[in-house]
Amino acid sequence: MDHAAPKSIGNSSQLTELSIVELKTLYAAKSLSPVDVTEATLKRIEDVDANLHSFITVTSDAARTAAKESEARYRAGTPIGPFDGIPFALKDNVETAGIRSTSHSKLLFDNVPTEDAHVAARLKAAGGILIGKTSTFEFALGGPSWDLPFPPALNPWDTKHLPGGSSSGSGAAVAARLVPAAIGTDTGGSVRWPAAVCGIAGLKPTYGRISRRGVHPNTFSHDHCGPMTRTVADCAVMLGAAAGYDAYDPGSIDEPVPDYGAALTGSVAGLRIGLVTNWYREDAAPEVTAAVDAAIAVLKGLGAHVAEIKLSPLSNYIDAKTTISLSELYAIHEKDLKERPEDFGYLLRTRVMAGGLIRAEDYVQAMRWRTELATEMMAEFRRFDVLATAGWLTPAEPADPDGVDFFKKRQVVTMPFSLAGIPALSVPCGFSPGGLPLAFQIAGRPFDEATVLKAGDAYQRVTDWHTRKPPIA
């Protein structure tokens, strides 16, 4: 699908259909104003979000001001770059100056930061128009929960289902055409899971690629921010705006930010793909397996070389990462847990409690296991350019307040790439018989987001899963 072709634009609902790439093309041609797009975006949220609960806060006034400034830059022929004038949302664990940032928690119900997180500041500096803050699992971990100050987001493909998590509001909002772009955070899959079950693109970049400063921590050693958009090409634009070294984030890595858009050549001829089969063929829903294998066949048909491989069992990555996460989580929340346990949602509280009983030596052993597992995975990049596997092993889960389960036994197929800290992209690749989206993942070498995006974009140029609209849209 040619993602640069402008559509006929007649009304405000059509404006919210436009991708980032289409918007910037139309802005540059002076055929469209960021002011009109922002108004259409705000109207759509007003019309639709009462059914989705994807936003906790909508920043209408600030958005209108930013839109006028962007419009002036385009009129003057001096746009800042490709993200100028693009409406976007931030997950509510990303701090925003003067705007309440709750992490969907009673603990931070009145938290109004004085400074923007680095990623928020970068996107605003790139000309992006902040539309609001999206719902999440509590502190990006405890969810889905019905005992928090805000309701959980719902899936626009079927509001009887959930949009995954923890970047649940970001996934639902992008899929429902409320915004063309959102930032999620991903510690074990929290960008890619909602992307997969909402039918959008979601990228967890390399650890250290986007600053975590000003983002409420979940697990310091695994926390990432990442773009969530409807197309892979849009992910490339948003990543280019968000990425960059931050000397104040100890995890930030000083690597040049390439022109990700330039990498999208449409060609995967000769690309070597290692398809990790044991992470999904044994446990995934049959429709997931069929969709992933069909997606890989498409890439093969475009000239990629595919070989099936097996890596350590998924459970090894999950055990190591969960031990690390719970330990770090307890260190973050210990004071509040002891002083005001009643202010936590049940799911977060029980996870934090569990972390308090993990021994220091278990944490270190888990970090040693991380080394072993990551080293095993990285060795595969001697013979492959990217690895691929399922995006999530099931379609979206039902929204069931009675089904809340401590440590629900999910086979978290996103977690291996979290543990390795490498870039991983979720790409829509089909639908379940019930009409819910399915996805596959592409992961690459550290800081080689360009190759990952190139492969995902090449797939989207010859498929149309990403163009389908949920009923609510």
Partner: protein
């Protein structure tokens, strides 16, 4: 090796060492939580070579004053 699950009394000791002094309602939640992670910890506690490094790097340059 046969593993024996921690009893409520064992968990109470762990909680006391961690400084967690919960009301009974939350202690029940803690027992439930520990029952969920205990098998994971058993799997984690495997033999490793002495020189196996944790996935942790400390770069002292990151903590220098910025100005």
């Amino acid at each position: 090796m046969t593993r024996k699950s921690a009893s409520r009394e064992d968990i109470a000791v762990l909680a006391r060492v961690a400084g967690l002094d919960f009301a009974p309602k939350y202690f029940d939640e803690l027992v439930e939580a520990y029952r969920n992670i205990e098998p994971m910890l058993w799997r984690l506690r495997q033999g490793r070579s002495r020189a196996d490094e944790p996935a942790h790097v400390y770069d002292p340059r990151k903590f220098m004053p910025k100005d």
